[in-house]
Symmetry: C2
């Protein structure tokens, strides 16, 4: 089983209280793909510029991620620069250069079209819909969005949502999209727009998953050392979807516990992401490390 992700591949410059990096490979599709790569075969659809060199491609190859759908065009790669507040709970964007991303038109290689699982990163909802149209009867369509599209392309986003089974967004996006501050109400409103499952990421307050007759919540792992929160949410998405895909052929793949375990694997990958700058931690994990952290979540939350 394989998983297709479409979204941004970028260079990031990041400053946090723990240090700074002037230029490193980033982008939401990158974090997602690397996190998911520990669970399943991942294909990336995105665009990079001429400055995206062989060594940068290696970030994907080292994790066995297929980059055939990563188009390389003339111009420069999407660049984002940001600075985190002392408590790391807020960040300020210092610079955004869309570059080749400004004219991105996702084109799926022919053999990508039958990928059973699709994740639509938080790109323009019109591009999300274009990808949906290029796919041949996917088994599950999941996605993300962001405040910029919720405010600026609401109608187009609602079209995309109608054909989405699962939405993974953060709490402020859920509030903006639904018009409800209360997250239980927000999830109910969003589910009425299409997705049967809404996963709400709450940063260092954990995550909650809302389904028809089910709510599941997990707190965040209380980490003493957070180096760089960039990509934590995308890594959550990658862990969540990666687990879903890798276990989707098992008997209880629609069961309650199946989706709950996916939330935990999402939380696991998010917690790894923030421990080092950029992709550093996500590039060099092992399955035993991932399983050990899964057990940490069990220890953190279990009571009899």
């Amino acid at each position: 089983m394989s998983l297709l992700v479409v979204g941004s591949v970028a260079f990031d410059a990041v400053r946090t209280p723990q240090g700074s990096v002037e230029r490193m490979v980033g982008g939401s599709a990158t974090y997602f793909a690397l996190a998911a790569s520990y669970f399943t075969q991942v294909r990336v659809v995105g665009v990079v510029g001429e400055d995206f060199e062989e060594k940068h491609h290696q970030v994907f190859r080292d994790r066995g991620v297929c980059t055939e759908g990563l188009e390389r065009v003339s111009g420069k790669t999407f660049f984002w620069s940001g600075e985190y507040s002392p408590d790391m709970n807020d960040r300020r964007t210092l610079d955004t250069q869309l570059n080749v991303f400004a004219t991105f038109q996702p084109k799926l290689p022919a053999h990508y079209r039958q990928t059973p699982f699709l994740f639509l990163g938080n790109i323009d909802p019109e591009l999300q819909s274009s990808v949906q149209r290029q796919m041949v009867s996917p088994q599950l369509v999941a996605g993300d969005t962001m405040n910029f599209w919720i405010e600026g392309k609401r109608a187009e986003l609602e079209v995309t949502l109608r054909n989405m089974n699962l939405l993974i967004i953060n709490d402020s996006e859920a509030r903006l999209l639904s018009g409800e501050y209360n997250l239980a109400k927000a999830a109910r409103v969003i589910r009425a727009l299409g997705p049967h499952t809404v996963v709400i990421k709450r940063g260092d307050n954990g995550a909650s998953m809302f389904q028809e007759d089910e709510v599941f919540s997990v707190p965040a792992l209380p980490l003493e050392e957070v180096h760089d929160p960039t990509g934590a949410g995308d890594s959550f998405g990658g862990g969540f979807m990666g687990y879903l895909v890798s276990h989707s052929t098992e008997g209880n793949s629609t069961g309650r516990n199946f989706f709950r375990r996916a939330v935990i694997y999402g939380s696991v990958m998010g917690s790894f992401a923030v421990e080092r700058f950029g992709l550093e931690r996500l590039r060099h994990l092992s399955r035993p490390e991932i399983e050990a952290r899964f057990e940490e979540f069990r220890k953190l939350t279990r009571f009899e």
Copy 2:
């Protein structure tokens, strides 16, 4: 086994987006006592004025709470008035009239001095210490504090903390007291000041408990209807302590699961408190309702 709580008994006026109440019995010791009363025998030490009538005392009596330590003096009862923001995550104090509380000097009735479990509400740390001195070798001393004392009476608070086994505070208080934003670090700093257990309440983000080699976190129950957040934290404390006291003679009273269950019962009582205005919900609960909600927390958090 019985539990002594010292703290404020007040009249509250509260406005929330769900409605308003002009005058009702409140105060942190009141919420604490009522929540704890479902688990154990509770004794209240506090002060009220002449306006605190027989019908107001009935709030305690109906729940079997002993008010022999609730001194009645000439003057008016402590009055607090506040208004919650539309999302209920912030509140603004409209009026505070300390009245008889301004000169409160807790005096324990003779037979209260050997109460095995003590909870020091968030009063002046000098008064907390005075209560500690009046007690005869309590089995466990727990307490709370608030930003006003952390900033204004730091040295006195540190004296109180040295003789406290368990501190139950909210996240902003933990950050201010420790000088650390990160809650895992904050708990470590606070534990070094005295308490072996630090429970950090995070409002609608749940609660975390830090012990020597243990962390336990529970998310909040996603409630769609919140009428009045007043007293939720105090009700958490009452549920937590009430459970500890009622089960302290059992074999595994020092075990890991014992304290974890206390956090859940605290969360249960906090979740009930916010469902109605003031004490309304806490006055008329039943043990089956409490146990059913305990099971809701299990359903919310359990994965295999």
